[in-house]
């Protein structure tokens, strides 16, 4: 794991009207790591994700992406940054009027000039990489199950071979078997492609299974960051509750007895 931050956030402030979501929030994302973001409902995990992606304008603070401050980015810089990241939204957010294969090709068509034959081959490889059968390629998103839509969304996020992928609750809404399989997939892809992964999650099993580092959002900022073992020793009441509660203990037990293949 390299120790250069590819995204660094300093003094971020987000507010909607009088309601302050983030205040003086600092966070670094290092190259090659899997960073899990946890926090209670309403602590602004998704808002943080959207702010990094530029879908939400922050009230104050500095966000550096690939060494460039977002506020100083020209539209061309932003366009270049978009080619270097991939995003998986909660329910895939696939374009419903395009087939899965065409969804994957959207970014390829927008950013590059490749022959259609090569784009079809690339789409087929991405579909294979995320573990979907080839029959999924010509299907429309409405014909897929929730788990398959997530895989297809991940394939679309990987279309340009990004350096970093943002995952918004990747395992939410999946059954436990599907969720572990998805964890496994992210872990494998991360190892194979050398990805940096920024993952908003509620799934304690995911945190144990694949996250190198965890950042806890509470009290409008990133309260602590650290490995899962470091989380276990934290004294903050919410963190204690989160990691030592019944679900936390169950996930830890599952981790110590290696049931996952």
């Amino acid at each position: 794991m390299g120790h250069d931050a590819i995204i660094s956030i300093r003094g971020l402030r987000n507010q909607f009207g009088p309601q302050v979501i983030h205040d003086r929030l600092d966070l670094d994302i290092y190259s090659g790591e899997v960073l899990g973001i946890v926090g209670g409902s309403g602590t602004g995990k998704s808002v943080l994700l959207r702010t990094i992606l530029g879908l939400n304008k922050s009230a104050a603070g500095r966000i550096e992406i690939f060494g460039k401050a977002r506020s100083e980015m020209t539209p061309e810089d932003a366009h270049a940054a978009e080619r270097r990241w991939g995003v998986l939204f909660q329910d895939g957010a696939l374009f419903s009027s395009l087939t899965v294969a065409q969804n994957i090709q959207v970014a390829l068509k927008e950013h590059l000039h490749l022959p259609q034959r090569l784009m079809d081959e690339i789409a087929a490889i991405k579909i294979g990489l995320v573990g979907l059968p080839p029959e999924a390629g010509p299907k429309f998103p409405s014909e897929l199950s929730g788990g398959m839509r997530k895989r297809a969304g991940l394939a679309r996020a990987l279309a340009l071979d990004p350096e970093i992928v943002f995952l918004d609750e990747p395992t939410a809404g999946l059954d436990p078997i599907g969720a572990s399989a998805f964890d496994e997939l992210i872990k494998n892809l991360q190892a194979t492609l050398g990805l940096t992964v920024f993952m908003v999650t509620h799934d304690l099993d995911s945190l144990y299974a694949i996250c190198d580092r965890i950042a806890v959002l509470a009290e409008k900022k990133v309260l602590v960051t650290g490995t899962i073992d470091e989380m276990m020793t934290q004294e903050h009441p919410w963190i204690r509750e989160y990691f030592h509660g019944p679900r936390g203990r169950a996930a830890m037990a599952a981790k110590s007895v290696p049931m996952r293949s």
């Binding site: 294969a101 090709q105 022959p115 409405s142």
Partner: protein, 380 residues
């Protein structure tokens, strides 16, 4: 055959009698895939005994680059060569392995088949669909009447707030646009009519033309078309998006009847409001016609009213008032029916909304024609 040096990815190819040496250079990533793809396509995969990919000079490799290497080696193997991949770093080897595992033939879209057969198939499917729609519409009308009957027996079941809300949305808020359009059409009709009637000195009958056509037909027809476009579509979109978010299912599990909660208030609102809007439309049309008659023919407003009185009898307006509630019922019915048929994706909401407007206007005009025949036969 060295690749173009200015691109950031290229391929060095050297070969002796029987073996081929391929040395990828630079960044073999998706951004440079086009150049690399062309270079690799130029290699003839047949008739070689051995080929080697030497990856030791490659700077960057991503899944697309790995796929291109994999594709070429499989093609060479199929052509009869023994392919070795040398000099790959451990992450590169992992990537190549993963891509090899993910290799699967795939279609990006469904095969289209024979276009002539497709046209026939689509026509048949459309016809069948139209038949089903007609059948379901009749069933839906029955459901509405049943719910209406139940509500009449037990008026406390009626959703008064919702009904009044839709009366405001579909009725009151439509007054300005219905008025404006009717006024303009009345003016245009009087203007064009008087031009034609002048030719045989019958311009005085412009009043009859405007009065009878507006009171009998145009006033209510324009209103109905406007309501179909404005409110029928809104009903479809509202109910359709509720259907998508499973709100309708939630309602059913809570023991609420969507027919009673969603459909009936909208139906009642339009049954009540379309006649009122139609009346306003007719009046505005007469106003527009009167203004033109005054300006063009110099007929004073008093004279216009006298002529109007002579030109129309009470049945001219009565006919419109018989038709209007039926139009209201049909528009609301189709709007709600199409909303209930939404399923799957947001795209479906759009399709259904379009269908709702088209069907709404279509059925209003068809029923208007039937009414015309009926009134002629009845002699009113």
């Amino acid at each position: 055959m060295a690749g173009a040096a200015q691109s950031e990815a290229w391929l060095d190819v050297s070969e002796d009698a029987s073996s081929l040496m391929l040395r990828p250079q630079g960044d073999w990533i998706v951004r440079h895939a086009d150049a690399v793809d062309k270079a690799l396509q130029a290699i003839d995969p047949y008739g070689r005994r051995a080929a080697t990919f030497d990856l030791s000079h490659i700077r960057k490799l991503d899944t697309t680059g790995a796929w291109l290497i994999h594709r070429t080696s499989t093609a060479l193997q199929r052509g009869g060569a023994v392919v070795t991949v040398a000099g790959a770093s451990s992450p590169q080897a992992t990537l190549l392995h993963a891509v090899a595992k993910a290799d699967q033939p795939m279609h990006a879209t469904r095969p289209y088949g024979n276009p002539f057969v497709n046209v026939v198939v689509r026509m048949g499917a459309a016809l069948e669909e139209a038949g089903h729609t007609l059948r379901d519409l009749v069933a839906f009308l029955g459901l509405i009447l049943e719910t209406l009957g139940k509500t009449l027996v037990n008026p406390r079941r009626m959703r008064a707030t919702s009904t009044v809300y839709h009366m405001e949305q579909a009725g009151l808020n439509a007054v300005p646009i219905v008025s404006l359009i009717s006024f303009l059409i009345g003016a245009v009709l009087a203007f064009q009519g008087s031009e034609q009637l002048k030719r045989f000195g019958g311009e005085i009958f412009t009043v009859n033309l405007v009065a009878v056509s507006f009171l009998r037909e145009i006033g209510i027809l324009m209103t109905a078309i406007m309501v179909a476009g404005r409110s029928g579509s809104a009903f479809t979109a509202q109910i359709g998006s509720m259907k998508l978010r499973e709100e309708i299912d939630a309602m059913r599990t809570l023991g609420l009847d969507p027919m009673e909660v969603l459909v009936l208030p909208r139906v009642i609102a339009l049954i009540v409001m379309v006649p009122i809007l139609g009346f306003i439309g007719a009046m505005m049309g007469l106003l527009g016609g009167g203004l033109v008659v005054w300006m063009e023919l110099g007929m004073s407003p008093q004279m216009y009213l006298v002529r109007l009185n002579e030109a129309v009898d009470v049945w001219d307006a009565g006919v419109a008032f018989i038709k209007a509630p039926v139009f209201g019922l049909l528009i609301a019915m189709i709007g709600c029916f199409e909303g209930m048929k939404v399923e799957g994706s947001a795209e479906s909401v759009g399709q259904r909304t379009t269908a709702s407007v088209v069907e709404g206007i279509f059925i209003v005009i068809v029923v208007d024609a039937l009414f015309s025949i009926m009134f002629v036969k009845l002699g009113i």
